[in-house]
């Protein structure tokens, strides 16, 4: 067979990587290329260099080293039994491509993942080699995210952490039964063991840096993971529970959700209908509720409907508020921050502004309207100097009043 050109390989291996949700390049240690030999900088805030028509940002060069794989996970387009075109980069090619893109300001860095070839260790070695070439030979100081392989030798995974800003290990599916059924070659204990080991390494390296100024950094942007939504029967309540357990026990920076999309050559075990993208969105919203709004996991689960899934027509915060109307209305002039954060339509920024502004005056509904996006959604849940919702809060049709209007979808945008 003829050798594939770099362009063909990039097409195949970027196409295979598009099912990975994460593209974050934020939250890492600050560095720049002044005084070095190479290029690159990270200044805390991630930068999205382009947006694809699927609304997702393109911050990193997200490719697989290879899409050959010896595993047979049903949800994955690259599984052994799939019929896709295969290709393989050398570590040198990946490093050169990254640098060429970076010099033109197309990207923030590299997100490298891979199918498993030969063995987990061999694959991990190749990935670490690509990162090593970038860091040591080209003195590249941009962002690197490596997806590590839980089955690989822990020492290799540790090497990855020394070169990368962030490492991640996918938990793949929210339930153990789903994992055994859909990813027969993977093992939950092994995956969680590897995540725990990485957590330990991160803590240890942080501690060392406190005592020795030149101790090497280890994955300064922490670790993250990804779960596939809609490939198995897990409900939103299961998923939220699993995510909060992951946040708590492994100190993860992020749990990403990837709505299972109908992939070419999908396995017959999987549902053909994709789950609504909205479900993924609602899960991210619930993730936000736990991380920035002070909701406990069980409170998010309270917002789910009878089937254990979050409602799709309204957001989880509104769903919670409608279920617990007794806690409302909230007085914007007196209530504490925690209570204000529970008002549907008030985000952390609006709450901060309300609290700052009410030191100067007693707020009227107009004042609240000035610091928020839409007052109509908030009105039933607050009282202000000149506003009392009276029976509005308890109206039976409040949900229909507040739910966003259904729109006709565009056929050809």
């Amino acid at each position: 067979m003829a050798q594939k050109t770099l362009l063909e390989k990039l097409e195949i291996l970027a196409d295979a990587a598009k099912y990975d949700a994460s593209c974050a390049s934020s939250g890492t240690a600050k560095k720049n290329s002044l005084g070095g030999k190479g290029i690159g900088s990270t200044e805390g805030m991630g930068i999205c260099h382009a947006y694809a028509p699927d609304g997702r940002c393109i911050s990193l060069l997200k490719v697989l080293l290879t899409n050959h794989c010896i595993f047979d996970c049903h949800y994955c387009i690259n599984r052994k039994s799939s019929n896709v075109r295969r290709a393989r980069f050398t570590p040198q090619e990946v490093a050169d491509l990254t640098l060429n893109f970076y010099r033109r300001n197309y990207i923030e860095g590299l997100f490298l993942s891979s199918g498993i070839i030969k063995s987990s260790n061999h694959t991990m070695e190749q990935m670490v080699e690509a990162a090593r070439i970038l860091r040591e030979e080209y003195d590249f100081r941009g962002y690197i995210h490596l997806k590590t392989i839980p089955e690989a030798d822990p020492e290799l995974v540790r090497q990855a952490g020394f070169h990368a800003d962030r490492v991640s290990i996918n938990v793949e599916l929210p339930t153990t039964s789903g994992l055994t059924r859909l990813a027969p070659d993977k093992n939950e204990r092994q995956i969680e063991g590897a995540i725990a080991k990485t957590k330990h390494d991160i803590i240890e390296a942080k501690d060392a840096r406190k005592r020795f100024r030149h101790a090497p950094r280890f994955a300064p942007a922490g670790q993250s993971t990804q779960m596939i939504v809609g490939a198995d029967k897990a409900s939103d309540a299961d998923i939220v529970g699993k995510a909060s357990r992951l946040y708590d026990s492994f100190g993860l920076r992020r749990v990403y959700y990837s709505a299972f999309s109908p992939i070419p050559d999908a396995s017959a075990v999987l549902p053909l209908q994709r789950p609504p993208l909205l479900r993924e969105h609602r899960l991210y919203q619930s993730d936000w509720l736990m991380r920035f709004y002070g909701y406990a996991p069980n409170e998010v689960c309270q917002a789910t409907e009878a089937d254990g899934n979050l409602p799709l027509d309204i957001d989880p915060k509104l769903a919670w508020a409608l279920k617990f109307r007794g806690t409302f209305p909230v007085d914007v002039n007196r209530a504490g921050k925690e209570m204000l954060l529970r008002v549907p339509g008030l985000g952390p920024t609006a709450v901060r502004r309300i609290i700052a502004a009410r030191r100067h005056r007693t707020l009227r509904l107009d004042d609240v309207a000035k610091v928020t996006q839409s007052i109509a959604k908030i009105r039933p849940f607050i009282t202000a100097l000149d506003w009392r919702p009276t029976t509005l809060t308890d109206r039976a049709d409040l949900r229909t009043l507040l739910a966003p209007k259904q729109e006709q979808l565009e056929l050809f945008a």
Binding site: L6, L7, L10, A14, D15, K18, N32, S33, L34, G35, G36, K37, I39, G40, S41, I47, C48, H49, A50, Y51, A52, P53, D54, G55, R56, C57, I58, K62, D72, S81, S82, N83, N100, F101, R103, R104, N105, Y106, A259, S261, P262, I263, P264, D265, A266, A268, L270, L272, R274, L277, R353, A356, A357, R359, H360, R361, L363, D367, V371, F412
Partner: protein
Amino acid sequence: MTAMQRTSLTEHYAVHMPTPDDFAFWRESARDLIQCEVPPDRVSWIEPGGTGDLFGSGSSALPEPSKGAKPVRASKRFLSLARNAALHSDPQRFALLYRLLWRLQANPRVLEDKTDPDVRRVEELDKSVRRDSHKMHAFVRFRQVEAEDGSEYYVAWFEPDHHIVRANAGFFMRRFANMNWSILTPRGCLHWDGEIMRESGPAQRSDAPDGDPVEDLWKSYYSSIFNPARLKVGAMLSEMPKKYWKNMPEAALIPDLIAGAQAREAQMVAAGERQIRERPESLEAIHDAIANCRDCPIAECGTRAVMGEGSVGAHLMIVGEQPGDQEDVAGRPFVGPAGQLLDSALGEAGIDRSAAYVTNAVKHFKFAQRGKRRLHQTPMAKEIDTCRWWLESERAIVRPRIVLALGASAARGLLGKTVSLKSVRGAPIALEDGAELWVTAHPSYLLRLDGAAREEQAALFAADLTRVKARLAELQA
């Protein structure tokens, strides 16, 4: 003499800014004016080339504050807001900042009142300048050109909304410290040679280079990483408004990507689709149905579907890979060379072929034409999986106790996953319906071997058949 005495109550001042983004100059002037207690409505701030307001013709000689004047106070928050807001293209910005600074003297906490119109406006300015800077960091696209001395040199063209170019020089310097580059904009240009940052006046788009060889790679990356199953054009537009598109090479692809998304997604779904249909209830029904089956490309080659042979209730089902050249001609399974070898091996093991049900994992002959000859080609995993529907229907009707799979393709047809022959050979595998699956080599494999290797494999094959025979006898007893 106090400041009040030196500035008359009606005098109007005009401050001429040397450049539109000179925050330090504004700061100095504002400090002096406040110390002389000049209220905001008596100062106009005039940008270079601007005419100022109605009173713009006021005195441009600013009053000098006396030594003992009260120091001007400004909070850190105000300074950081003002530094950004001063870069906005709104001509009213300096007046707004002065008004706020003036109010800040009387009420140091004025910034905390987020409902105040001046505070909200300055925060809006700050926000849009920060956004513009962020988009500059993101959307500047360098193109490589060759410098006169043959070294690599990178040039970008960018059109910012506000006066942010100089303020962002540091970002690009820190990022591309060891690269020679220029950023050209209509509001001034930056040039970095690895050591010194130079500035020059406004440039035009025609000054920037046109293309770059790496752009093709980048475009192909952009269209490959896009997932057509999740089209969200609104989300893209809110972060990457159309005004930036003209200077981004990848943006030219967007209309086609959007237009083609539905077709691409439909393709993705169709590729994985299998219609839900009723299982046929008799072997005859299967026979009729497979003749018309076009679920996979093999069926489109003009060959005929070859149905299994045997009776309902047979204890043993033998499954091969697919019909060969002679089977296709005869319309019966295992009549070619491999079939003859199978027949003799079955005879030696004492298995009666006529009592067994003999069929194939794939019902059509897959071949490549070489002149007049049709050369056998192994079916793809997907094709086997597609045809599995028929094999399962046959099993559901025949209900064999033992299934003998010949070769890896047949094993996949029965198990739904690829197994290695070596690992599953010689021991039974329980199938979901309670039948036992035995896997052995395909007889055509023996036909391709010579000498010692053939003898060795033939012995293994015979041993497998003997085991199956013994097991069959046990079950029948």
